[in-house]
Amino acid sequence: MSEHTTDETETDRLASDDAAAIRVEGLGKRFETGEGVETVFSDLDLEIDPGSFVVLIGKSGSGKSTLLDVISGVLEPSEGSVTFVPGDADIEGNGREEVEIGHVFQSPRLLPWDTAVENIEFVHEDDPDYTDDLAREYLDLVGLSEHYEKFPGQLSGGQRQRVGIARALSIDPEVLLLDEPFSNLDEITADSLRRELLSVWRELGKTVLFVTHDITEAVQLADRILMLGDGEIYADLEVDLPRPRDVDSGAFVRFRGRAVERFHSIDGGEDGR
């Protein structure tokens, strides 16, 4: 385990022209509550390489999802900025408006009255090139070839989450944000989807920021693990294990053990499997 020395070879191989770096500078988010102002995080600096797979891990209430919402533009930052830099350019970063961000949520957030294809069509408002064939192509990619015209209520939890992933990928995003997407699924389905996500990532080379509170999942997926706690990134670990990763291998178990130790170094606690 090394402290943030990016594996250039791996990242460069995966980075496509469509991937963007994420640059977070002096970012802060506060909420006004009935009892005063609650600061979720402040003065956060972060640089994520294009095409890399970064996992953000933290305990419940550490602000992981809030950070993702600020990056995706769902929430406005209280201070600081988030910019996106194309993978092949050495320029000032673009604002949220200039990039496509695909967001996969903890619950798939599908329109229950629309079919799988229509759910994908919904996010292609100003895309003159969109046809339903594009939606079908991405549904094929996540293994839902038989379910184009099914409503979310006709799909299993895992299938619904696949539609959510297909929807996010279909806009050809420079950045893919995933907020604990497998936490509501049984372990067999979740493991299958993790493998598919990695396969899709390797094929499309998007920049991925993945939130979880599961350390095993983090080590299984990530190039780099960021640990968020007490409003700051308190650990930044490069995962230099070869892929595909066997969770039962000695190297994996040792890495995971050190990650768990580091995870709890901030204040102990029960989260982090």
């Binding site: 533009g73 329109l111 009255w113 919904f122 408002e125 006709q154 799909l155």
Partner: protein, 265 residues
Amino acid sequence: MSTATGLRRLLVENRQVVFLEALATAAALWWLASAGFGLTDTLSSPPLVAAAVAELLASGEWVPHFSATGRRIAYGFAISTVLGTAFGLLMGLYGFWEKVFQDYITVGLAFPSVFIALFAAMAFGVGDTAPTVTAGIAPFPFVAQNVYQGVNNVDTGLLEMARSFEVSRIRTLGRVVFRSVLPEWFAGVRYGFAGAWKLVTLAEAIAAEQGVGFMIQTELTRLSMTGVLAWTVLFGAVIAVFEYLVLRRIEERVFDWREQSAVAW
């Protein structure tokens, strides 16, 4: 399945058959009461009413009256639907308008519709306007309240999803908010429609020279129970046909996804 079991199921479980059985039983009891107790003058009887209905249909007398009533219902229903939907959306989407209108809507829900019919009759006199305005105003608080409740129940996760994918407000309103509100909106609109049937005929009885309500009132002044019941039966038949052939079909089509989802699990 034996013939006896099949017949039993048909007679007990088929909705249309049970409806016809109930109708036949009510008609038989009515006939028994009027003939058996010598109350034909008070209760009329099914054969007399059926003959009167047949005469109305054959003479074509029903056409101008049902046209007038139908026109007033259509206009009143359109007014209550547009007003109710607009007020409900405003209240649901903007806290300011919720504060402005909520108390009035609450009072409107409890306000007796007959007062509105009387006020409209006094304000607009005899003619088309009073029944139409009554049917437009009286049910609209129900539509508004339902739409308001529906907007409050919209899944915020879907709104966040739309914002995250930079979907425009107008598309979000149409594809997320309105679709979410549709069950409540439909329930409110159906209530509004049922209210429109009742209120138009009530207002016609007070302030019109044509229409089903006017004819029922006319038969009442002639003390003709058969005439009153003939118009009432005809009116009820039209409502039933509209309910089963139009509203149910629309509802089935609009909420097809719920039916299919329910079947899947």
